[in-house]
Amino acid sequence: MGGTKSISTGTARQDDLYRDAAAQYGSSIERLASAYEADPERRRDLSQDIHFQLWRSFQGYDGRCSLRTWVYRVAHHVAASHVLRERRIFSKLVSLEELEMLPDKDQGQFAADQRRNLDRLSVLIQQLKPLDRQVIVSYLEDMDAVSIGEITGLSPGNIAMKIHRIKNILARRFHQGGGHAE
């Protein structure tokens, strides 16, 4: 009967927590799904899976971390599992360190429209290993190092180093000269 606890019909508190989380972080979840899945149909499935697992997870939510941290932890967990399940981990996913060394095919070309820049940003993120994706997505969502640490479990030193690399990569690829990516 191990399944009865993990697969139950839910409680009113669980429903309320889910409604709150979906209302506050629904758009963030959609963006996060786009960082892990390029195909629109599969992205929709992934997003629904994140919502479903988020609802399930609220059965065990005891407020020991903020709602935002909880939502992002669950969402990243489901999305990283998706990457593993799809066996993309065996394709050429790279770390931030490796990505920093890779030459940019589009270097020198500046895309004036937001759509193309978004595509380039998405492609860049989707090349990354899941843990580095968590850091870059959190950074792009305007989170500070402390929040990124709470979500990823990386040390402040490690996060500082990764954010430094992210800024370098983004500055180089989006011609920002460093300043805009701060």
Binding site: I7, I29, Q48, W55, G60, R73, Q134, G153, L154
Partner: protein, 200 residues
Amino acid sequence: MRNDSSTNDPRTIWQNQPTEPSIMTLEKIRQKLQELHAKTRRGLLGGIAVSLVFAGISGYGIALGDGPVRAAFAFAIAWSVAGQYFLNRGMWSAALPADAPLGTGLESYRREVERRRYLSGRFLLWSFGPVALAIAALIVLLLSFGIRRGMLLKGTLLNMIPFFSVLAIWIVGVFVMRMRERRQLQREIDELNDIERANL
């Protein structure tokens, strides 16, 4: 144009991307829950059906074979039954560990990679193992028939060589691919260990 921060700032680009509104409602979530129950039941019944077919074929092999071949088929059946038990034991809790969100991204990702590696090993041991053994026993059984009946079955055996070859390639291929997958997952675990060490 290069200084236009709205088109050039990655964070602005990211946060202003068009997103589809979520269509998930509590009603849909409950529907998904029912689907998950049904899928789990189907998986369980499917596994039992495959095992029964497997046991039937192996039983036929026991009836026809002798000595070591009979023992190999009997062992394959026992192995497969034990496999069904071990494979289905963790089925209900496979989707998301109850305490997963309590862990950080690093912890839960590591746990997931380890789980994948464990599942891959479990597949090799409890699903693939009995099937490979039964196929090997079947080949030995057919070969021994051919040898005992002499020239009568020589042509049939020769005609079956491509089939045996495909089976052998399939067995080796699955084994090699799974082992490579396990090595890659182990490399990922090692990298995560390095990150954890650097975290201290």
